[in-house]
């Protein structure tokens, strides 16, 4: 018998020993970061960057496969007992000796996860991780000239790049309301002092928003530069237009942080993603009834919210709990009780 066959036999036996649980349920008690466990990380430190941003140092579990500069990672954090998932750019270089990675988080108003991470989370906390992903990355072959165009927290993936790979000629234009709002300001100025970076800070509170036409004056050779841009949609839209108009769209790489704005209305179009059916729903009829009326096979039970026999993943949009009025927005892992939930705007459920 081969060793893999032997190992799988042994594992089977172990499963019989622990049934109905899995061996991993017990191993997680002692070693949550081990190889083969669900990917987790432990927060080891939180360093404030600005008044509302902080860098979180994470020791990833053994299953972490590393990342490429510019990529992001999805993390699952328990906030008030509820597991919430968000994506953050990695700001650490890929070759950090101690194997730790960092993300840098800016607290956004009413942001449950960002405020929790910036202000409340304690070192030692276990979080859940996905593998790093994203194609906002540097190319294999080094470009001669580079431009980083960033605004606000759009600097985070670029900081990961700056720390990871040195280029001979790098220019950065970064926008933030005030000097003290510039995340990584000290690091950036250190790079400038070492002549590794030429930096233009645009302080939008005093200078106004960056007019993309001003680039000619700030970075005269911008069109020859391989450019990575990250920031609010307005800036990126303007940049894409500008680069296209000058015939160099292929030089521009952008990353959009998908805004999590869900418009919670009253009723809306419901998509049943598995069956591909789409119907209009009002804000008062349970999605269970809506689905059944549309001929979608819906699991059900008590039809009054007590048996949890109708729970179904909500994959997009928002729904309203008909008993409490509470709004639930789609996020990975969110399941709703269709018998007591109605559409609060357009939404999609997995049926």
């Amino acid at each position: 018998m081969t060793s893999t066959a032997l190992r799988s036999r042994a594992w089977k036996l172990l499963e019989m020993v622990t049934t109905p649980l899995l061996p991993s349920d017990y191993l997680d008690l002692v070693s949550p970061l081990r190889a083969g466990a669900d990917l987790r990380g432990r927060i080891e430190a939180v360093h404030p960057e600005t008044g509302d941003a902080a860098t979180i140092v994470i020791r990833p579990g053994r299953g972490w496969r590393g990342h490429t500069a510019g990529q992001y990672v999805r993390i699952g954090v328990d906030v008030d007992g509820v597991r919430l998932w968000r994506a953050y750019s990695l700001t650490s270089p890929t070759n950090r000796r101690d194997g730790r990675v960092t993300i840098t988080v800016k607290a956004i108003p009413d942001g449950k996860v960002s405020n929790h991470l910036v202000r409340r989370v304690k070192p030692g906390t276990l979080i859940h991780l996905d593998q790093a992903t994203g194609d906002f990355v540097l190319p294999r072959t080094k470009p001669a000239k580079v431009l980083y165009l960033t605004a606000g927290s759009g600097i985070t993936p670029v900081m990961g790049m700056l720390r990871d790979t040195e280029f001979d000629d790098v220019v950065m234009v970064h926008c933030a309301p005030r000097p003290q709002d510039v995340i990584f300001r000290n690091d950036l100025h250190d790079l400038v002092a070492d002549t590794k970076l030429r930096l233009t800070e645009v302080h939008t509170d005093t200078d106004g928003m960056l007019d993309i036409a001003r680039l000619d004056e700030l970075v005269p050779d911008w069109a020859e530069r391989e450019t990575w841009a990250c920031g609010p949609a307005g800036l990126l839209d303007a940049a894409e237009k500008h680069w296209a108009e000058h015939g160099v769209p292929e030089r521009l790489h952008t990353e959009r942080f998908r805004p999590t704005v869900v418009v919670a209305g009253d009723g809306g179009e419901v998509t049943f993603s598995t069956t591909g059916r789409t119907v209009d729903a009002d804000g008062a009829t349970p999605l269970l009834d809506i689905g059944e009326a549309a001929g979608v096979l819906m699991p059900s039970g008590c039809r009054m919210g007590i048996c949890f026999g109708c729970t179904t993943p909500l994959t997009a949009g928002a729904v309203r709990d008909l008993r409490t009025g509470e709004i639930t927005e789609a996020e990975p892992g969110v399941l709703i009780q269709t018998c007591v939930s109605a559409a609060a705007g357009p939404c999609a459920i997995e049926r």
């Binding site: 008590c302 048996c307 949890f308 409490t324």
Partner: protein
């Protein structure tokens, strides 16, 4: 329903007001549900797993009597925790709000021969919706007993003290059979029903796994302690069965608990539904440890009103619920475990015989309400 309707003094408006007050209690808990509650269930789960691991470890040496006693006691408690405070409550969706896929009603499997999904159907969906409605809620005597005067007597019921005792000893198998609706489905024609067959197969698989684990693998691992370990596991399962059977009997069978006619729930309002849960359930009084070991089903009344609220909150909810019972002059059936168990058993024995007096015809609650 028993001779006198104990809710007859309430007007329809009062019943709806009662419903609103109960909704408010529920909303309070929902609004304050959070980190502490999540930490609670995680702690209980981890404690249960550690206790089970240690007990199984000790049982490897169960050839020595002290190890046998210790291991058996530990395993019994671990199994009770798994079924009661953890399994039952997670399968009710009480912890779904945490969005932790590992502590979720859709993924949890328990140390029990009835597969989670089948139990969820018969328990959450049928029993909790049709609580104590004769002919709809099979928990009223589990289909093998008569626990209310209004249920029809049959000579078969003469043996019900014995059935109940056997059911208590092998409770988990009783529940599996009950979830399968075995009595009904063993009829020739139904036996072939593919849906029933696939469910029966699932139960068979689960039983095989459970038996293999408890009575083959763990004893084998114990080597020379094979037989003592086997006996220990059997004892732990027996203890767990007797315990959970007793607790569950106390939920709906003690004297003072009401049952309802099928027609009384037609067009039931939210207030009336709540009222039925209040009158159809009974509590057990006792210490914190007792509440914990019953999986907080000692707060059966609160659990039936709010089956999806986290179990660790029932104690605080109970204070408010009890105040409502007083306000609306309703009887809050509760008592210490021995008293309630005795009361339930007494009923089982008493009703094994046909009713003594001719039944008094009483109006269904619904008619009372209409008349009011």
């Amino acid at each position: 329903m028993t001779a006198i309707d104990p809710t007859a003094h309430l007007t329809a408006e009062q019943i709806e007001e009662l419903g609103r007050e109960l909704d408010a209690i529920r909303d309070d808990v929902l609004a304050s549900r959070g980190e502490k509650d999540a930490a609670y269930i995680r702690k209980v789960i981890s404690a249960q797993r550690k206790l089970e691991l240690v007990s199984r470890g000790v049982l490897l040496f169960s050839i020595f009597p002290p190890a046998w006693v210790l291991g058996t006691a530990g395993l019994s408690v671990a199994k009770i925790m798994d079924n009661m405070e953890i399994g039952h409550n997670i399968l009710h969706g009480q912890w779904d709000w945490m969005r932790d896929p590992k502590i979720h009603s859709t993924t949890w499997e328990w140390d029990h021969v009835s597969p989670s999904d089948q139990w969820k159907h018969s328990h959450n969906e049928l029993h909790h919706k049709y609580t104590n409605v004769i002919g709809k809620d099979n928990d009223l005597g589990y289909g093998i007993m008569r626990v209310d005067e209004d249920q029809k007597w049959h000579p078969f019921h003469l043996g019900q003290p014995l059935w109940n005792f056997l059911n208590a000893c092998f409770f988990e198998y009783g529940i599996a059979a009950y979830d399968l609706e075995l009595g009904k489905n063993l009829h020739k024609r139904r036996r072939k029903n593919p849906e029933f067959r696939s469910r029966a197969k699932a139960v068979g698989r689960k039983i095989r796994k459970q038996v293999l684990k408890d009575y083959v693998i763990h004893p084998l691992l114990s080597g020379p302690s094979f037989l003592p370990t086997l006996a220990a596991t059997f004892t732990a399962n027996l203890v767990r069965n007797l315990w959970s059977h007793s607790v569950i009997m106390c939920g709906h069978f003690p004297e003072g608990v009401q049952v309802f006619e099928r027609r009384s729930i037609k067009g039931e309002t939210r207030g009336q539904w709540y009222l039925r849960q209040m009158m159809g359930s009974a509590n057990i009084s006792g210490s914190k440890a007792m509440h914990f070991m019953t999986g907080n089903l000692s707060h059966q009344i609160e659990h039936h009103l709010f089956p999806d609220l986290p179990s660790n909150r029932y104690a605080e909810v109970a204070v408010k619920v009890r105040a409502l019972f007083e306000k609306y002059e309703l009887e809050y059936v509760t008592g210490p475990l021995p008293k309630q168990v005795f009361s339930a058993w007494h009923k089982v024995v008493r009703l094994s015989l046909p009713n003594k007096k001719p039944k008094l015809k009483t109006p269904a609650r619904e008619q009372e309400v209409l008349a009011a």
